[in-house]
Amino acid sequence: MTDSFMLQDYAYVGFFCLIGVIFVIFVFFLSRLIRPHHPTPDKLESYECGELPIGSAWVQYNVRYYLYALIFVIFDVEVVFLFPWAVVYRSLGFFAFIEMLIFLAILIFGLVYVWKKGALKWV
């Protein structure tokens, strides 16, 4: 496959994305033009099952979610590292197998460490 071919494929994807974005934004503003708009103070209250909301929802929240996000970043990057290896695995043979074994071992070690540390425990 030549370079120009690859660029062409990128161009198609880019073009499709462009049309997709334009279409979605068009629908968004179309609906803004044709729908009614009659706000009253009661309508503009935050919904809390009919009760008046107490305080803002913009508060600091459980760090638990943050830990998962951190672990996720590490593992997702490892997934991306595995992709190119997987694609050429057949032609690389035994050497690539050993290499990946070491890589996966480090990965699994990381998972076990996080597990033992209790970061995966939901409280």
Partner: protein, 327 residues
């Protein structure tokens, strides 16, 4: 050259229209099937067997008043639905739904772009969807929304890891990231990756449900505790966009499952596109069936299952595949 441009335009238009129609009729299918699972009839009034119901719903949502509470962050509140729907829409660009055909002497590929990094593109774009949900949850300034947004982002990133791992086995066997090449690697029935990667297939199915935030992993919108999760403060077309994004992702996930595991468009007698759609509908049916059958997980069960069961299993799958291929 002109013919080339016209073909591209027509192809994009057809794909967009078909995709939106599929989303619309997926909502019909879901309501109808759920109805019959619960010994009801489902929608029956609008058109024969409720067939015009999705169109009526669409028109209604387009004309509905948009209520934006006074204390939301206006800009992000508007941006979030777009960020949810656009990724779902642009994933379709790389999914091959048939082999090439010839019309009036022009060779037409049944894919918008035979992108040589198709799967990477799909994973990258689909993880953008998280932004829509978490921003919607935060910008609404509503406790239900905030909780829903946090839950869905934690859930989606947890299962995205195992989703990525579960695809690696397929990539190793196919030796390509291009979806067209992956389908071509499954030309015979017993070459389908569902037979060569059974564990990967099951992992993919489970992670896909979690990625879609659907039952039994529908904690972000657990109705009885969080009202509607991150969509609580949305109405009108913005609400519809979350809906479109969700069902669009459902179609994408099913299309990807068909491409990666069920041999894509390959099949006897019928034209390739029909085979592709048929296999896709099997997956859609399966997801709706699961929704009607299984109760919801508890949140700690969900996180434990993702990190302590699925990820080790997915790593094991990669290891087994590597060993088998080296032998």
């Amino acid at each position: 050259m002109l013919a080339f441009v016209i073909i591209t335009f027509v192809k994009i238009a057809v794909v967009l229209v078909v995709f939106l129609l599929l989303i619309a009729y997926l909502t019909w299918l879901e309501r109808k099937l759920l109805g019959h699972f619960q010994v009801r009839l489902g929608p029956m009034r609008v058109g024969p067997h409720g067939l015009l119901q999705p169109i009526a719903d669409g028109v209604k949502l387009l004309f509905k008043e948009d209520i934006v509470p006074a204390n939301v962050h206006k800009f992000i509140h508007n941006l979030a639905p777009l960020l949810t729907f656009i990724p779902a829409l642009i994933i379709v660009a790389v999914i091959p739904f048939g082999s090439g055909i010839k019309i009036l002497g022009y060779e037409i590929n049944m894919v918008i772009s035979n992108f040589n990094m198709g799967i990477l593109y799909i994973l990258a774009v689909s993880s953008l969807g998280v932004y829509g949900l978490v921003l919607a949850g935060w910008s609404s300034n509503n406790k239900y929304s905030l909780l829903g947004g946090l839950r869905s982002s934690a859930q989606m990133i947890s299962y995205e890891v195992s989703l990525g791992f579960s695809l690696i086995g397929v990539l190793m066997m196919a030796g390509s990231l291009s979806l067209v090449n992956i389908v071509n690697a499954q030309d015979k029935f017993f070459n389908w990756f569902i037979f060569r990667q059974p564990l990967g297939f099951i992992l993919y199915l489970i992670c896909a449900i979690a990625e879609l935030n659907r039952a039994p992993f529908d904690l972000p919108e657990a109705e009885n505790e969080l009202v509607a999760g991150y969509m609580t403060e949305y109405s009108s077309m913005k609400f519809a966009m979350f809906f479109l994004g969700e069902y669009g992702n459902m179609i994408n996930i099913s299309a990807l499952a068909t491409t990666l595991f069920l041999g894509g468009w390959h099949g006897p007698f019928l034209p390739p596109v029909v085979w592709f759609l048929l296999k896709m509908v099997i997956f859609l049916f399966f997801y709706i069936w699961i929704r009607a059958t299984l109760p919801r997980f508890r949140y700690d069960q969900l996180m434990n299952f993702g990190w302590k069961v699925l990820i080790p299993l997915a790593l094991l799958n990669i290891f087994i595949t590597a060993v088998i291929m080296i032998l």
